[in-house]
């Protein structure tokens, strides 16, 4: 065994705190280490070439690179040693940057620690075995979860490229948040004019199947071969018959809050969210339906010309196979009412959210596009916008910027001017203006100058009702004085939050999510649309708050990654899986009990006995069986018990 150790300076990232040259020299004393070297940047082209040269010239059979986190460059170096003829699994990384140089100041102690980390990596690579991936067939169908603008974009891109795509949408129509917007910044073009044609494209595309009013229930399998259980929620309307004529909606006697219009209007118990819905199909909201609540009515059933009403309908489940999954579940509006008692917490009628105002501005919205006060339907004289409600506010647990509120506030302010005319006073309370996109800053400037919007820098401390007005008390930090504005309408630039149920979906998909419920990308720069679960990708605001252009751009990026993955007919599976030494198996079947993936199976032996066998393509390499096997006859390749014990011993060596 001939091990080479390469210690990376990473410029001064490591060498600033760790004496790389000294530990390279010391590492030469370790058993089986025949070559060591310290390198300025091991990941650079010359750095990698140096490793490859050393493999050839020094006859190295195993390699340790002491540099950054394996999550950063393990793949890079595996490829590097593979290109030089070594099996990529005869390579190990010692993380002396994130786990050492970056968290320490004192060079002697950090150097000592870095040396220990290298010793552990050398110990681990000593027990390493060459591993070879398996090849599995790839299912080329793609599941897109979420039918907002990002999901639609990804689906269309993929479908245009010839893949079969299924969009699963929780609501009864696709369109997502964008469908509720009136205009879009910075062009003030009509949101529906952009989106609805895309929705129709998706609906009519021969490669796209839309499953609306459906949810992902369970995900099994692995990249290339996911098995997904999809729940079709009971709509109480047979969608194969429903023609979307809305007759039932007109006749339905039961009222319900209009979710599409964010509570600004009432809808009926039987419901089609908006006229351009795709698919345009009715759904009975049973909690408001007289038949379901009181056991009488059945008006819809009587009026339906297509005989589509089915009060007995149940949730149905179907199972489909996919090769890749794109998560595009979008975002929700921050529930400001729960967090901002100082703004009335929802009790002041004339304080509304940005999305509500969006609906109010919309010509096909509940007010027909007329801006008026909620309390008395009069046109407002003073309109106040308050930014960063539920964004950049540690006190409500939302330290992040929602990235769209500055811009949509400017848009809404401009639209207010258009709707209400020059007499209306428009104020915007802001902390900072974030206008980083193309044409955004110019858009803000136009609002301030061309549309006479008063920007007041400062937070609003309190809203309260007085003499029929909403009193806005805040600080103008530029003037350094308290201001109080008697507003007729206050629009909160409510921030974005992760979609409801996002953590549950993440758990079903085995992907990570952050404390706010946004899904975690594999790497913010290197793998921004991938997740840590192979074959699961992200698009749009489910990953972080995004505006429409960014969501769409990312969605196309995601599509290209999916296409890259599915361009292969076979996929290589990770060889870091569990394997049973059947000569030692005592057939206790604990492994079959604990495996989350049902990878271990009973395999008959020539002597008639049965021993455990782990199905390679099903094993995900978690190692739960390994820790459960009492005789330790299951070993997890790449993480064997011996390698762990050796590392422990090495770390504790005096």
């Amino acid at each position: 065994m001939r091990i080479g150790v390469f210690v990376c300076h990473c410029g001064s990232n490591i060498a600033g705190t760790v004496d790389c040259h000294a530990i390279a020299e010391r590492a030469a004393e370790l058993k089986d280490v025949v070559y060591t070297e310290d390198v300025m940047y091991t990941c650079s082209e010359p750095g990698q070439a140096g490793i490859q040269r050393a493999i050839k010239e020094k006859g190295l059979t195993r390699v340790v690179v002491a540099s950054c986190s394996p999550q950063m460059h393990e793949v890079t170096f595996r490829r590097c040693v593979e290109d030089a003829g070594l099996n990529p699994h005869l390579f190990e990384m010692a993380n002396i940057r994130e786990h050492c140089s970056w968290i320490h100041d004192d060079m002697p102690r950090a150097t000592e620690k870095a040396y220990d980390i290298i010793k552990m990596a050398v110990a681990k690579v000593r027990t390493a075995e060459p591993l070879f991936p398996n090849e599995v067939d790839v299912n080329k169908d793609v599941l897109v979860i979420g039918g907002g603008v990002a999901g639609i974009q990804t689906a269309l891109d993929l479908a245009d490229a010839g893949l079969q795509v299924t969009i699963v949408e929780r609501e009864s129509t696709i369109g997502g948040t964008m469908a509720r917007l009136d205009k879009t910044f910075p062009t003030i073009d009509c949101s529906a004019c952009i989106l609805t044609p895309r929705m129709v494209d998706a609906a009519h595309h021969q490669n796209i199947a839309i499953m609306a009013y459906s949810e992902v229930d369970r995900v099994q399998g692995y990249v290339g071969n996911f098995v997904v259980d999809i729940k079709r929620r009971a709509a109480m309307v047979d969608w194969t018959r429903c023609i979307g004529c809305e007759l039932c909606v007109q006749k339905c006697p039961a009222h319900a809050p209009d979710r599409f219009n964010v509570g600004l209007a009432e809808s009926k118990a039987i419901y089609i969210p908006f006229p351009q819905a795709v698919p345009k199909r009715a759904v009975i909201q049973t909690e408001y339906c007289r038949w379901f609540q009181q056991g009488k009515c059945r008006v819809c059933s009587r009026v339906c010309p297509a005989d589509a009403i089915d009060y007995e309908q149940k949730d149905t489940y179907i199972q489909r196979n996919f090769g890749a999954i794109v998560v595009a579940t979008g975002m929700d509006v921050f529930p400001w009412e729960e967090y901002y008692p100082q703004y009335g917490g929802g009790s002041i009628p004339d304080v509304i959210s940005g999305l509500q105002y969006e609906r109010m501005l919309n010509a096909s919205g509940p007010t027909g596009g007329h801006v008026h006060r909620i309390s008395n339907h009069e046109e407002p004289k003073n309109v106040v916008f308050i930014q960063c409600v539920g964004s950049r506010d540690e006190s409500v647990g939302r330290p992040y910027c929602s990235s769209v509120c500055c811009m949509y506030t400017a848009k809404q302010a401009i639209l207010t001017r258009n709707h209400c005319g020059p007499e209306t006073n428009i104020f915007v309370f802001y902390i900072d203006i974030r206008a980083t996109g193309k044409g955004y800053e110019e858009f803000i400037k136009r609002a301030q100058t061309e549309f006479n919007v008063n920007y007041v820098r400062g937070r609003v401390s309190k809203l309260y009702e007085e003499h029929g007005k909403v009193m806005v008390r805040g600080m103008d930090t530029l003037l350094g004085q308290q201001v109080e504005i008697p507003a007729d309408l206050v629009v909160l630039a409510t921030g974005t939050t992760s979609a409801e149920g996002a953590p549950q979906l993440a758990q079903a998909l085995n992907i990570s999510y952050d404390e706010f419920g946004f899904f975690k990308e594999s790497h913010p720069k290197l793998r921004p649309v991938e997740t840590n679960t192979a074959g699961v990708f992200l698009a749009g605001a489910c990953q972080a708050p995004k505006d429409i252009p960014t969501s769409v751009a990312q969605a196309s990026g995601t599509a290209s990654k999916v296409l890259g993955l599915l361009s292969k007919d076979k996929l290589k599976t990770s060889p870091q899986i569990a394997v049973v030494d059947q000569s030692r198996c005592v057939s206790c079947w604990k492994c079959t009990d604990v495996c989350p993936f049902s990878a271990p199976e009973k395999q008959s032996q020539r002597d008639g006995s049965q021993k455990s066998h782990i199905i390679e393509t099903v094993c995900q390499g978690c190692g739960i069986c390994v820790a459960t096997c009492p005789v330790n006859c299951i070993s997890l390749k790449g993480f064997t018990t011996d390698s762990i014990i050796d590392q422990i011993e090495e770390a504790l060596l005096a």
Binding site: D105, S512, E515, Q620, F639, I648, A651, L652
Partner: protein, 143 residues
């Protein structure tokens, strides 16, 4: 300094066995954010806390570890969906038994640190190593 006082004052040795998907990434995040941490812990990466046999923690104590920390994904967030649920039961038992095996309870901890909780990783490891250092090195114990 006599050999004995040296023993009593030497820095403790702590082994942290962490899962690849959450806690290792959390520790990476702490590094990226330059969050200062104690010197005397060594991180061992495994795919999942479910892969860690409690006997490995005992092995570490037996081989001279002064403290052992196990950290993984929060329950519900396991990359393999169930690994940390199994680990939770096993390590709870270990946690309860160690004080009766001559290992003070503060020398062992199992906890959950997600990939995004860099600051939590820093505070977990700093507090844990601090507690172990207060107890001092373990010498001449059966385990």
């Amino acid at each position: 300094m006599t050999a004995q006082t040296e023993t009593r004052t030497r820095p403790v040795k702590v082994i942290a066995i962490v899962c690849n998907w959450c806690s290792y990434a959390g520790a990476d995040g702490a590094g990226t954010a330059r969050l200062k941490q104690p010197y005397n812990f060594r991180v061992l990466r495994v795919p999942c806390t479910g892969r860690i046999d409690p006997l490995l923690a005992l092995k570490a104590f037996q081989k001279g570890a002064d403290g052992v920390l196990i950290s993984g994904c929060h329950p519900g967030d396991c990359h393999y969906s169930e690994g940390n649920y199994y680990a939770r039961r096993k390590f709870e038992l270990l946690d309860r038994m160690l004080p009766h095996l001559g290992v003070e309870s503060q020398r062992f901890k199992y906890t959950w640190v997600s990939a995004s909780e860099a600051a939590r990783w820093q505070s977990v490891i700093t507090e844990f190593v601090g507690h172990v250092q207060e107890l001092g090195p373990r010498e001449g114990r059966a385990l």
